[in-house]
Subunit: 415 residues, 2 copies
C-alpha cells in the first residue's frame, strides 16, 4: 500500500508579492512526514477566486490529502470559507459551539464584538468543524470520495493548535502505508563536494529504499538519510547502521548525529559538562545571545552577553584599553582578546566568547567582512579570524554559527 | 496589454519535509513585483524527475515567465540541470567562461578541484548562461516560443546576485503592461476587525483598480494598498491620496506610512532626533540588540545591550538590589526599573529600555507569559507590563516588537 500523498496550498496575496515568508508549510510538512505522509507539492496562490478554484481542480485529483492555510480572517480579503463552501456544494450555517467560543473570547478580552466577528461562527454545512481553541476562525474538513480537504487559518499558532488537537489525531486513525525514517549527520569543516568524494562508495552502496541528501548551510553540511519500508523497526536499525558508517568515514568533521541546531548541540555539551558561558558581542549585536536563549532552560549555563556596539562601551564596560583600539583597531585579535577577558571579569562564566568585526554594507572596493573572535577560559585565550563574503544579514548569521562552533570545538578539545 | 504572469518553482526534498524554510521565493516575488510582473503561483516540488517534468508541463502553458530555483549543486541529489537540458531538447557542453571561473574560484580558495566540480562548467547548448559571480553553479535561461524559463541555484546569495546582474536587467528590457504601486500604513494598537469597521466607507469607495489588504503580525497591522494602471504617475498620486485618507482616519494608531520594519522606524526617529539608546535584556536574550543592529549604521544611535540572563548578573552588572529580586521577583516593575536605570549608568545612553519576563515553555497550569518593561530617561522612568499567549519563540518576537514600539512611543511623546 502506498503512502498518503499530500498537497499543501497556502492562500494569500502577501505570499505572491513577498511581503511575508511562509513558515507554516515547513512546519506542516514536518508533522505530516513524521506520520508517514508524503508531501509531494506545496503551492501558494493569491486571494483570487478563480486561481483558488483552478488549483483545487488540478490538485485534488492528484492527492489523497489537501491542506489549505490562510484566507479565513474577518476582513474582506479573506475569501476562503465561502469559496470552499460553494466549491463543495454546501451553505453557511451558524455553528453553536463556535458562536459560544467567539462570545467567550471577546468577553474575556473585554473587546466589542462586531458583526464581522460573528460571521466567523458561520461554517459550511457540508464540513466537519475543526475547533480553534486559540482564535476565532474555525478549521474545516471536507470529504470528496476518499479524499480529504482541510482548511486552516494562516495565523501560525492557531494553525499549529488545530493541527495538533484535531488534524493529526484524525490522520493517525486513517494511517496506512510505509514508515518514513530520517537520520542526519551534522558536519562542519568541508564543502559538499569533498564530502561526496569521501563517501562515494558508501553512497553507491545504499539500497534503493534509502536516499541520501546534502543540505549545506552557513559553512556546515547536513547529510540526511531517508528510508522507507513497511517494517519500521528493521528500517530504523538499517538507517542507523548507514548513519554510523557515514559518521565513521567522516569522523573528524562530524559535530552531531541528531538533526539539531548548533545552539542545541552546544547547550547539550554545556549541560553534560556542567559548564557556563558568556559573550562579548560587537558586530553580532546580541544575536549570539538570542540564539542561545532559543533553547529552553538556557539559564542553566548561559550567564549573559555584553553587547558593546561602540568603542567607548568596549572600554568603559569591558575594560578594553584605549591604546589597543588605537593601535590595532576594533577588528583585531588584541581587541577580541581583551573583550573576551573583560567578559570573564564581568560575567564570571567558565568560557567567554568575543566577536568583533565588519559585516557590511562595505565601502567601495571592500568586498568581504573580517571578523575576529576569542575564547577565554581561566588564564588561557584562543583567537581565530574569519572572512565572510556575503551581505550584512548573512555575514551576521555566519559569524553567529562560526562563534558557536568555535566554542563547541574549544570545549570539546577539537580545535 | 496585461502584465507578465510569473510562476516560481522551488526544487528540493528539504522543502517538502520541512527541513528548511523557503526565503528565496519571497525575495524573488518582491523583485518581480517591483518590475510590474505578477507572481500568480509559487510551487515547491521534490528532487524527483517525474514530479519536476509534470510541474513544467502544467505551468509553462499558463505563465509567461517561470523561475526555477534549486537542484543545481554538485552532488547526486541535484538533478535540475540535466533534466532541463533534456526537457528542452539540448545536450550538455562545456562553457569556457564558466570553466575558467571555476578554476579561478578553486585556485583562490586553495581547494582541490574535483571532477564533480568541473561538471558544473557543462551547460545545455540550448540555453543562455546566466553568469554566477558568487558561486559555481551557473544560471540558465531557456526560451520556448514567447515563454521564458529561468533556472537559478538555490543558495540565496548566489540566486540574488544572478537575479540582480542578469535576470532583472533582461526582464526590464522585455517589460510591458501595467505598473503596480504598493503603499503601506503601519498601525499598532487595534486588531484588524476594529480597523476594518473604522475604515468601512473608505474601503467601499476604493476604485476597482486599487485593492486593500490587511496584514496582521505580532500585535500590529499593516494595511497595504495595491494599485494597477497603465499611467504610473497618476496611479502613484491616486494611491498616495487613499493612503493619506486612511492614515487620517486611523490617526492615533498610525506608526508609519512606509513599508518598513519597526527597527527601521525607530532608527529613523533616533537619527532625526539625534538620540542614543541602550538595552538591559533578560528574557529577550539579546534579540532586541540583534534587531536594532540589522539596520546599517546602527552604531550612530545604538550603544549596546546588557543581556543578563541570570539574577546574579542583574545584581553584579546592572546593580539590581538583591532585596528587590527577593521581594518582587525578577519579573516585576521594580526589577525592570532597576535594570533600565542600571543600563543608564553602564551605557550612558539617552534612553534605556529593560525587558524581564517569562516566555515559556510553561509549567502545568501556566498558560501565558508575563513581561515587564521599563524605559529610563534622565531621572524619569516609565513601566509597562504585557501578557503573551503564545509559545516561547513567538512570545520572544512579541516582546521584542512591543519593546521597540514602547521606546518609539515614549520618544515621540505618544504614550
Amino acid at each position: 500500500m502506498t503512502n498518503t500523498q499530500a498537497c499543501l496550498i497556502t492562500i494569500g496575496d502577501e505570499l505572491l508579492i513577498g511581503q511575508v515568508i511562509d513558515t507554516n508549510s515547513a512546519w506542516i510538512a514536518q508533522q505530516l512526514n513524521a506520520e508517514g505522509i508524503d508531501v509531494t507539492k506545496r503551492i501558494a496562490v493569491g486571494d483570487t477566486d478563480k486561481d483558488i478554484r483552478d488549483v483545487l481542480d488540478e490538485e485534488i485529483p492528484k492527492a489523497d490529502l489537501v491542506i489549505i492555510t490562510g484566507g479565513l480572517g474577518p476582513t474582506s480579503d479573506d475569501i476562503t470559507k465561502p469559496l470552499l463552501c460553494d466549491y463543495f456544494g454546501g451553505k453557511l450555517v451558524v455553528n453553536e459551539r463556535v458562536r459560544q467560543h467567539l462570545l467567550d473570547i471577546f468577553a474575556r478580552r473585554n473587546r466589542p464584538i462586531l458583526e464581522r466577528n460573528m460571521k466567523q461562527a458561520e461554517v459550511p454545512d457540508n464540513c466537519t468543524v475543526l475547533f480553534n481553541r486559540m482564535g476565532t476562525a474555525p478549521g474545516m474538513l471536507f470529504t470528496k470520495g476518499e479524499k480529504r480537504i482541510i482548511s486552516l487559518p494562516g495565523v501560525p499558532f492557531e494553525m499549529m493548535n488545530i493541527m495538533e488537537h484535531e488534524v493529526l489525531p484524525l490522520l493517525r486513525k486513517l494511517a496506512t502505508g510505509e514508515a518514513i525514517v530520517h537520520r542526519t549527520i551534522f558536519t562542519a569543516g568541508e564543502g559538499e563536494s569533498i564530502i561526496a568524494e569521501k563517501i562515494l562508495d558508501i553512497e553507491a552502496a545504499l539500497p534503493p529504499h534509502i536516499k541520501l541528501a546534502y543540505l549545506p548551510n552557513a559553512g556546515m553540511v547536513r547529510l540526511r538519510l531517508t528510508g522507507r519500508s513497511n517494517d519500521k523497526k528493521t528500517l530504523e536499525q538499517e538507517v542507523r547502521q548507514w548513519q554510523q558508517q557515514l559518521a565513521e568515514r567522516l569522523d573528524n568533521i562530524v559535530i552531531a548525529l541528531e538533526d539539531q541546531s548548533l545552539q542545541e548541540i552546544l547547550s547539550n555539551t554545556l549541560k553534560t559538562k556542567k559548564l557556563t558561558i558568556g559573550f562579548a558581542e560587537s558586530c553580532t549585536g546580541g544575536c549570539l545571545g538570542h540564539y542561545m536563549t532559543q533553547v529552553p532552560g538556557a539559564s542553566e549555563y548561559f550567564y549573559g552577553s555584553m553587547v558593546c556596539y561602540q568603542n567607548h562601551i568596549k572600554e568603559s564596560v569591558l575594560g578594553v584599553k584605549a591604546g589597543t583600539l588605537a593601535e590595532h583597531g576594533a577588528v583585531s585579535a588584541q581587541t577580541a582578546i581583551e573583550m573576551a577577558q573583560g567578559a570573564q571579569r564581568l560575567l564570571k562564566a567558565d568560557y567567554t566568547l568575543s566577536v568583533t568585526g565588519m559585516l557590511g554594507p562595505f565601502d567601495e572596493g571592500v568586498k568581504s567582512g573580517k571578523v575576529w573572535m576569542a575564547v577565554a577560559h581561566g588564564t588561557g585565550v584562543i583567537t581565530k579570524d574569519f572572512t565572510f563574503h556575503y551581505d550584512r544579514a548573512r555575514n551576521k548569521e555566519m559569524a553567529v554559527q562560526m562563534g558557536m562552533l568555535l566554542l563547541w570545538k574549544v570545549i570539546n578539545g577539537k580545535l
